[in-house]
Symmetry: C2
Subunit: 339 residues, 2 copies
């Protein structure tokens, strides 16, 4: 299991790629598989841990990210013969090593940060097995072995009652995520908004978010770890997710649904695969529709929302799907596209 090393595994607060690597690793170990997790040295896991980097490069200014990545990825491929399959949760750089070893590589594509990174995926389409994290995120030039939605460790998220009375924004503070749109929706709905997540775009935060923060109508609580996420999500009337990009998957959306808190999301990217209108939230287009959806959100049955989410986005569901795929790949029943 080749994890991203921007953060430790599992992440203390932000780090969706590392969270997925953690959830998948724990699930596979629980099923009796012999897993080696390649991650930062401060990671915690039931698997065997192999670490090159002492800590995540986003958290440790003394390391050079590129150096750390090179050593980390090389460590897996230099030991490839020890493994039946390499699960790559890292991004594209490991692809460049994949023709140099005999072990099959299954790469989870956590999203295309830009069309400029597609050439390297295209170059290894014939040898690497790709997993898309939503049907919406599939690139037309690539062949995929499966779509596997991210799964949540559902027992870490309790059934919430929405009694906090707030709307919630949970994610990176960035124009893509629509933080300022969420502020406007909450203002017009006349409800308090809690904003949680790391600031990724400082200029956007200063210009479009910070001026609205007053500690009551709009509160900013920074990045939040698992317990605080559970509390904030479960207490929310709804999660606002007015994204301005085609998000490949929204881990915070799935987490919200598992607590029973409905999600009001822009109908872009993977959102139609995550939110079932009228059952677990609403898909909207713009601020007016979002405000109307907030007014109607009390009609969503939180228990039904949670039940639906557990059926579709539990860790068990995800681990089942990966376990099946890994077995098929190891047995040679899933040839890579060009083979």
């Amino acid at each position: 299991m080749l994890a991203s090393i921007a953060h430790r595994v599992p992440p203390l607060d932000y780090g969706p790629w590392e969270q997925v690597a953690a959830t998948l690793t724990e699930g596979l170990v629980a099923r009796g598989h012999d897993v080696t997790l390649f991650a930062t040295a401060d990671s915690t896991t039931s698997a065997r841990l192999h670490a090159q980097a002492p800590a995540g490069y986003e958290e440790d200014p003394t390391v050079d990210a590129k150096v750390s990545e090179a050593l980390h990825i090389a460590a897996v491929f230099e030991r490839a013969a020890q493994f039946d399959v390499i699960s790559n949760q890292f991004d594209f750089l490991p692809l460049a090593f994949s023709r140099l070893v005999g072990t099959p590589v299954v790469t989870t594509v956590h999203g295309f940060s830009s069309e400029r990174i597609v050439p390297v995926y295209r170059a290894y389409d014939d040898v690497v097995h790709y997993v898309s994290i939503s049907d919406a995120d599939r690139h037309p030039d690539l062949h995929y072995a499966a779509t596997i939605h991210h799964g949540i460790e559902v027992d870490r998220f309790s059934a919430g009652d929405g009694q906090g009375g707030h709307l919630l924004f949970l994610g990176r503070i960035h124009p893509d995520k629509g933080t300022a749109t969420a502020i406007e929706v909450a203002r017009r709905a006349g409800l308090p908004l809690v904003i949680a997540g790391p600031v990724q775009d400082e200029e956007y935060f200063r210009r479009a978010v910070a001026p609205a923060i007053d500690g009551s109508a709009v509160r900013y609580v920074g990045p939040v770890g698992p317990q605080e996420r559970d509390r904030l999500l479960g207490g929310a009337l709804a999660l606002l997710h007015p994204i301005d990009f085609d998000e490949p998957f929204g881990l915070s959306v799935a987490e919200s649904l598992v607590t029973g808190t409905p999600v009001i999301a822009h109908a872009r990217g993977s959102m139609p695969e995550l939110v079932r209108p009228g059952v677990s939230g609403h898909l909207v287009d713009g601020i007016d529709e979002a405000v109307r959806a907030v007014a109607a959100v009390h009609r969503i049955d939180r228990a039904a929302c949670r039940a639906d989410a557990i059926a579709r986005f539990s860790a068990d569901t995800m681990v089942d799907a990966y376990e099946h795929l890994f077995r098929e790949v190891v047995a040679g029943r899933v040839p890579a596209a060009g083979r």
Copy 2:
């Protein structure tokens, strides 16, 4: 031959790593070796050219540098069995691939941009053969197979007469290179200064360089290609090289010496290996000493300066040294440190 792909090979103007790859490749081909140059598609070479990237990532905004690098490096290592030896002129990322192939890798360390990149060199010290580009640049933690100074294609640099009457600054506009110091030295020496090279630090350029540019006492001509370099260097009274860092090698210094133009340099990094005081210039400490050295520079014999430089920094000298090293490595007579 694995070249850097920031620029084409040879570079049109700036690009010392690519220039060294070009000079070494041409020299080896001229000696009858079968060389494949891995470089950008717009490169020109007498060798067989293998290109992944259409153009240098510093010159083509449509490519992602990291993607381009990954595809470029993988292309060499996926074909490693075809080669007796891989000459890595790229930097550290290829090291991470080196244990996955049987072909020996000789890595020219073009300098350590930061102490934070040393760990990856340390991790491959036992398998990769390192070449330092000056004795001064050797890192105490690493083992080296040789020090090989860069060589210049001396017939591309004519004997200059210094009749331009100017002092010259040639290199990146960056505090490390001491552009502002050169301006002050020229002002106090009462001589015109020509500044040539790309702006690497925009803020430094605006603050410390641009205000002095008046088109006569101080002229800025931007990055310059081979012919213009030859003309500017040969016409200069002296090259000012008041570096503020331990420069691993100064290609522009060697070029200047080959035209017969003496160099006045801060006595740091590789400068004591390049400049022979009284023969080919002066090593100084600070502005006062530099101004005194300018006043004395007419006593340097330009013909002797050029002859000394050709003996020590010709392409032939460099290619001899690499050819010898490659033969020894291929014959197994230079084991890597840990073997």
